[in-house]
Amino acid sequence: MEIVLSIVIVFMILGAIYALYAKDLLSALISCGIVGYGLVICFLLLQAPDLAIVQIVVETITLVIMVAVVLNSTREELKEKAVVNIDGVSYVHQRYIVNVILVVVFALFLLYFFKESIFTLDHFGEHVTRMSTAYIEKAAEQTGSANLVTGILFDFRGYDTLGEATILFTAVIGILTILRAKGKK
């Protein structure tokens, strides 16, 4: 189980690295689709059918919208060279040094906290969170629904669902406001 999951995650990492370095914007979007659909396979291997259905449809709609935005504008990536030749001596562009140092500093900082916290979790596949046994035993009688995830979403943690419906509504209003034509007189 761990081996199959590791192979799929390695494919996702390769796809993500190519998506950030492609010269053509359309190829970069297709590689972003590799990461999304690989995530669907991981959800199915981790026994979560609910999440897999939502992730497939949401990923497809996001890709369609991004392709429509890119096709109506330029398709090429911006060009910039790393090493510049002036009078026979080669200088490295200043932005690249700052970028590499910044990324290395962030990576070491986060790696330190990751190492400190990952050893509080048990081995993969045996970690039991504090509320899980209580939810699994009591949820069937107290809510009456056969699907435990729906029972938790609408009964035990109902305020999260209310907040999420509000966020979706606010996002739609925001998009309609940004793209409005210039106002009437």
């Binding site: 590791s6 609910d50 962030f106 990576a107 993969f124 969170t129 435990l148 938790i152 999260d160 996002a171």
Partner: protein, 112 residues
């Protein structure tokens, strides 16, 4: 433990894309990859060995269920991620119509 480390590497790839790229579309792709790594991490924590999906069926009496609480949290987070991406793309459309480029270093008409 090695799956957790691979998931963290995916997060770092996305973070690198947000911090160092100049094209607005590449920044949106990097943010999207960061969110995917977080969904994967939550689903990995809730997995129990040889468990089945958390739905009660009549003819299987005593079954070991996978933890349902992280799945409920990720379900909310996927829809919120779509809303964020859509708003970023609406802003990108407006920027292209006004400045005719996707480069963030040339969008500086507030400077001065």
């Amino acid at each position: 433990m090695i799956v957790y480390l691979l998931c963290f590497i995916l997060f770092l790839v996305g973070l690198f894309g947000v911090l160092t790229k100049r094209n607005v579309i590449k920044i949106v792709i990097g943010l999207s990859v960061m969110e995917f790594s977080l969904f994967l991490f939550f689903a990995l924590i809730g997995y129990i060995d040889k468990g089945i999906a958390p739905i009660i069926v009549q003819n299987i009496p005593n079954a070991k269920f996978v933890d349902p609480l992280p799945q409920a949290m990720v379900l909310t987070a996927i829809v919120i991620g779509l809303a964020t991406n859509a708003m970023l793309l609406a802003i990108a459309i407006r920027l292209y119509k006004k400045y005719n480029t996707f480069d963030i270093r040339k969008i500086n008409s507030l400077k001065g």
